[in-house]
Structure formats: C-alpha cells, structure tokens
Point group: C2
Chain length 286, copies 2
C-alpha cells in the first residue's frame, strides 16, 4: 500500500516477514492484524508490492501462513502465483518460488507424507497376549481379536505412543521394550503413506479396564490361539507379524531398542537400533 | 439450488458425492464443473442444501476436495463450518463433522505427521565409505563429509528411495541390504516430525559422477577418517550413527531386512525386520 507522509515522500508498506536460512522469507498473517490490512483489496496491493520488493532482493521461497479465520484471503494469494504447501485444522500454508531462471531450481521441501501407527505385542508370564475387538473400521463385527493399535500424535515418540494406546484402550500399564518390525504402505489414506511399528511391551499390570468409544472388548488370550485365528492365518501381513511375535516369545528375536539422545539444539530424540550398549562399548574401545 | 421443472414441483439439487465406509460422504469439486455451479453464490446454496440433506441422513464426516483453481470457494466452505484437513500443491481437503451430539465424537483421522528421510552407508571392499559435501543447507561451506541423504517421495519405498538418492547424488549403483537404525525427531519442519532411516547398501559400481545442483563434492573415504571428523565426533547423533556403521563393518551388527509382502487388496508392501528367513522357517515348523 502506498502512503504519503508529512514530507511528501512516498512510503511503500510491505508485509512483515522474517527471513529463513535458505534465502527465503516467511510471512505469518495474524488474526489481530489491522482491519484495514485484512480487507481483500488492501491486502492484494500489499502482497503485490511485497513480492516485487522480495524479487529485487533476490529472495527465493516465500511462505505465507494464513489462519483459517482469514480464509477470505486464500484466493488472492493463489492469484498472485502461490500454491498450497500443507494445511492443519487451523491454518493453511502457501508457498511461492520467486526465481524465474532455470539455474535456481525450486527447492521447496516436500510436505509430510506419512502417518505413523503403532501396534503393541504385550505378553504376560502365562504366555497370554493382550488383544482387543474394535467398534468401528474394517474389523467391526468380524469377531477378530487384534493387537492394540493406534496413531502416533504430532510430536509424540513412538515408544511413548504405543504405551499410551495400550493404556487408553485396555487400562493396562506397560513399559516399552523394543520395535520388532515395521511396515511401510502406500495410498493408505488419500495419497498418503503409512509407517506401522510393531512394538514389544512389558506388562506392568494385568487388570483390564477397556475404553468404551473405540473398543468393543479386550482380554488376555493364549498367544497360539491369537495366531491361529483364520483372519490372521489368511492375511499374509498379519500372519507374518504374528510369526515374529511367536519367534520373539520363544527364541529371543532381536528388535530395535530406543536410545535417548539429544540434538545440537538440546532437544531429546530417540534412535532405534539393535543393542545400543554394543555400540557404546565399541565406541569406548576406540 | 432450487429449480422448478415442467411439473411445477420443486427439485433440490445437491452436490455429487460418494459415500465412505465410515458413514461419511466425499465430494470432489471438478475443474470442469458447470460454470454456474462454480459461482460463489450458487455454490453456497448448493452446499447449504447438501449439508442439510446429509444431516437428515445421519451422515458423519463430510470431505470436500477442492482444486486450487477453485480457491475462490475456500472461504464459502469454511463459513459453512468446515476446517482444513490437509493440502497438496494442487488441492485443499476440507472436512466437517456433522453429528452434534456428544455420543458421536469426531473421529476424523489425523493428517500425515511425518516426513521420511533416508541416509546411505555404502562401504566398498577397501573399507572406504561413499561421502558427499552439500551446496546448501546447514553443512554448506563447513567442509564436512557426510553420508548421502534424501527425502522419500510420496508412494516410494524406503529401500528404493535410498538407492535412488545415492545414484542421483553420486552416480554410484547400489543394492539395498538392510536398515541399520532409525531416528524420530520432532518440529523439524514447521510442526511436523521426521523419521530418518540409516540403510546399508552394497555398491555395484565405483565410478563417481556427482550431481551438480545439490552436491559440491563426492568421494570414497576411509571409514575411520569419516568417523573421526570433528563434526561427527562432537555431534551425539552423528557420532552414535557413525559407531553403528563401524560396528556393522567389523562385527556384523544385525539390522532389519526388507521382506516384500502383499496386502489383501494385492498391493505390494515391505515389512522391515530381522532375518525374515528365521520367521519363515519358524512358521513352516508349526
């Protein structure tokens, strides 16, 4: 937007932005912004002037985070050459790659592509496995007993998510032991992929107090009985995973343990690997 | 939209939709739709009438897939109570949960939450590891030699992605052997999480033909020299992973192999686990 100040010199107002470490700029539209700026025509002028200025400065990627309450501005931003990058319930992220020469190819990073699920293999000292029947979904009304499963929340560690799901669905307290195997599948959810981690948990309580919304029934069931259900035997993937559980129960199949570590920035992460203590011992000998 | 036909009886036109197996409906707005329907006011009436009809039918979740070319309709859909679910460059997916009673809680599935990356540990028979220096990003200009890494494309298998990345960055042909370990990290990319799989690959060629856009340099480097770089030694995660590589090179650390399998629907998937042949042999004895 162009304004004239006291001196008569034209001032060009631009959108507030911060710069990223890849030569790009990030704009966050706030819900409490000046009502004038939020008007479609004023915003369009501001955006156009800003893009022009960023181009002159040699900026590359431009990100605009737009809250859902400003959905009336989506069309204006798209008309200025932006595409969608990702969306969450409360906001839409739009992006535009400014350079027009072929020696500066678009390096905008991809969107998140995978959902992450977990399944729990919880075996007690009577060789009984913790199983559930679900109210809805593909197993509804089939009578199939399955391992407790769930989706990893945003920002949640796999080793915490699986313990939480077992507690929520069955009321049983457990401790994470290791990842037995994982499966990657595609187009499981619109065009998105899925990573499913089957984990061994050690039970720390036995009384079942099932959750009512998702779970029809929960029980401890002899492991062979679980593995011999026709649905499990006839489904290649379920059968293979049930066999891993049987091998684990009887022969000490080696999975991946969780090893806590920290990033340069001090955040705690987990690396999942075979026997982290072997790696540590090896390193101490070097 | 309400129209009167020859008989004088009012006909209510609704949006075309298909039903999903969870009691919901899915609407896909097409770019070649009737120009009249794409007008904001006509579309708003149609949407309102459709929602009213779906509520009467006891429908639960309503999904609307809107191409970016119809971004002028985003605001209308949001005003009718929809929220964003996810977005890709060419479309926005909006969703609304119709039931208003507390005994039918919102069970709309979460959006994809993770990006998936891969790293390659390629060791030749001279105990040299394949390493690269990158043009941009956090390692730019640091002189750090790192393992080739990349992002798994939508719909791509981890075991294929890592072979592709090595070929693209260095020109070296390889064969996937196993996953050595994986790391989960959070808020790596806006609010999204990241899963990084470190894989062992067997080299099938040795000549390096590096890619120019992302890669500054590529070479075969003695594995101890790689592991002793100050950056690797001082970064807990890089150091731990380098040690896993050293253990693997010298002591046969057990990773997870890829086992091809098929879903009920006939799609090919991979399950990654320790020695699949043990699982198969065990199963054949049952």
């Amino acid at each position: 937007m162009t304004k004239h100040n006291d001196t008569g010199i034209e001032q060009i107002h631009l959108l507030d932005r911060c710069e990223d470490s890849y030569g790009g700029v990030r704009v966050e539209i706030k819900e409490d912004m000046d009502a004038d700026v939020m008007k479609a025509d004023v915003f369009a002028s501001l955006l156009r002037a800003s893009i022009s200025s960023w181009k002159q400065q040699g900026k590359k990627g431009v990100w605009i985070k737009l809250p859902i309450k400003s959905s009336h501005l989506v069309d204006i931003i798209v008309k200025e050459g932006f595409r969608y990058h990702h969306a969450e319930p409360t906001y839409l992220m739009l992006v535009c790659w400014l350079p027009e020469t072929s020696d500066t190819p678009d390096t905008i990073p991809d969107n998140a592509s995978h959902r992450v699920g977990v399944g729990a293999f919880v075996l007690n000292d009577k060789r009984e496995v913790l199983v559930v029947q679900e109210h809805s979904g593909r197993f509804q009304g089939t009578g199939v007993w399955k391992l407790p499963t769930g989706v990893v929340n945003e920002g949640e560690d796999i080793c915490d998510a699986v313990v939480r799901e077992v507690k929520e669905e069955t009321g049983v307290d457990t401790k994470f032991v290791e990842v037995l195997c994982f499966r990657q599948s595609h187009k499981s959810f619109f065009t998105k992929s899925d990573l499913f981690f089957l984990c061994v948990l050690q039970p720390e309580s036995s009384a079942i107090d099932k959750q009512n919304v998702e779970i029809e029934a929960a029980q401890w069931m002899p492991i062979e009985e679980y593995a011999k259900q026709p649905f499990v035997v006839n489904n290649k993937q379920f059968n293979f995973m049930a066999n891993i559980c049987l091998v684990k129960a009887d022969h000490g199949y080696p999975g991946f343990n969780a090893r806590a570590t920290t990033t340069r920035g001090g955040k705690r992460n987990y690396i999942y690997c075979n026997k982290p203590e072997i790696v540590d011992n090896f390193a101490s000998l070097m």
